[in-house]
Amino acid sequence: MSDTGENYTTFNSRTLVEIVGDVTDEALKATKIKQLLSVLAGRFFNWAGRKSLFTLHLGIKCCAIEMAASATPRFDGDRFGVLFRSSPRQSDVLLVNGPISKKFADPIVRLWEQMPEPKYCIAMGECAISGGPYYQSYNILEGVDTVIPVDVYIPGCPPRPEALIDGFGKLREKIIRIGGAPSTGRDGDKPIIVGDD
């Protein structure tokens, strides 16, 4: 069956799509509609992305309990669009809420790589920022930013749920600035520390 598929020429669906695509692309570029559409679409996707930050359902240690508490009726993170997803393939934000041990360094990098762009990382709590009270331990990395690029740091041990929600607010401000820039090109960007102002 596969070699008879090669016998289709001009009316093969893939070739047809490419030809139509190229023609339309040239037309849109010439009339500058493409530029307008990309600006509008970019603004729209930026708005949609920052208003619905799907966070990975990952609970490492104590800060995970505060993360769960921030989803409960008293603090209610859901009104800000923060929803927890079980699969890394369907989430935008990796919220690291505990110390990263040597055993877990590989899985967390794998989780980060499985998340599709645009993706953001929030380091919540002292253990994720710098190793926390376990900075002297033989088994804990000194901060998750040794393996993953971090966008927002939320200090506290554990940070209150209000601080976590504020951290998501700071992440939204950052998304307005950097939009959908890929996560590898953000090294020169200054990290935001909650509570800094």
């Binding site: 990952l58 609970g59 041990s101």
Partner: protein, 379 residues
Amino acid sequence: MAEMWITMGPQHPMTHGLWTLRVKVDGETVTDTEAELGYIHRGVEKICESRDFTQITPYCDRLCYVSAMTWAHAYIMAAEDLLEAEVPERAEYIRLMAAEVQRLASHLMWLGAFGPDIGNLTLMTWCLRDREMFLDLLQELGGSRMHYNYPRVGGVKRDIPIGWANRLKAKVKLFENRINEYEMLLDESTIWLVRLQGVGYATAEDQINAGVTGPNIRAAGVNTDARWTNPYSVYDQVDWEPAVEKPTSIKGADCYDRYRVRMEEMRQSCRMLLDAIDKIPGGANTHYQPGDEMLITKAPTRAPEGATGFSTYECTRGVSNFYLQGGGDNRGKNPYRVSIRSPMFITIPYVAKTMIGYKVADIPAIMGSFDPCIGETDR
């Protein structure tokens, strides 16, 4: 059909923490399991060898983070055994009340995580909402919602604030009605009953040989509780009984029994708290300054080489032990060895073997009913 190994990997919405459960399935039936722990092994025992006795208390808070007050109390009891310190009676009552409020908060967190495993997401919002009531009380004592650093060698850090006892009484009375609401929601729900009954049998002798203790054993019909078998603090002066459940089968207790035992334990904790408020020496509405002799006695800060201290404590998930040896660095101010026994470290491999023979869908029910907390497992 071929059997295959499935990894319920470290990141999993059900596993209540960071560990891997490798499950060998034949169709839908579980034929073998393997548990892998150690993803948050922090080396607390090694770090504590370079810390003062008072500096170790925050580390013990962070062992089992949903029941921090009980773990700090367990460690402080072992430190007092090592350093030969007395504790005034008012401080014992305050520690008892803090531990029982923490037990309520911990069981609510368990129920709030167990409900969604079975499919009942309402429970998460209800339980965590009620848990906030008790976290506010503990915040008045310790300063933070979760890690309090509250007991000290020889007593407690500060007294209960004025009005704390009235707030506690009001909240406990409100909560006793709430437990009835939870039971109304769950015990009349067919899905809850069908998913929990007949699943995850475990007998008492099997469990104690494997080292499983706490509410899991009491669900199998024996009322062993370290608060009366190895008595400590003032539990013999407050009015309470260990919560026991009759197992539904000769094969042992199932998940439904373990759930019922924890609901009953919450009722007993409420009863203990209301009684302790009446019996506290010095009255519940007086406030002594920090450092007063009613709250803390001067304790030695050094332990000589060769001294040991050992405590047996009923934590929310089982019996935890601390074993300290004196004579460490800093001329004896640091312990030479701190050894921590966590009930969950032994329970999780046991539960992994209990799951054999049931369906894959029963795994969250069995796992959640034993109440795992990985913080204390990987010290």
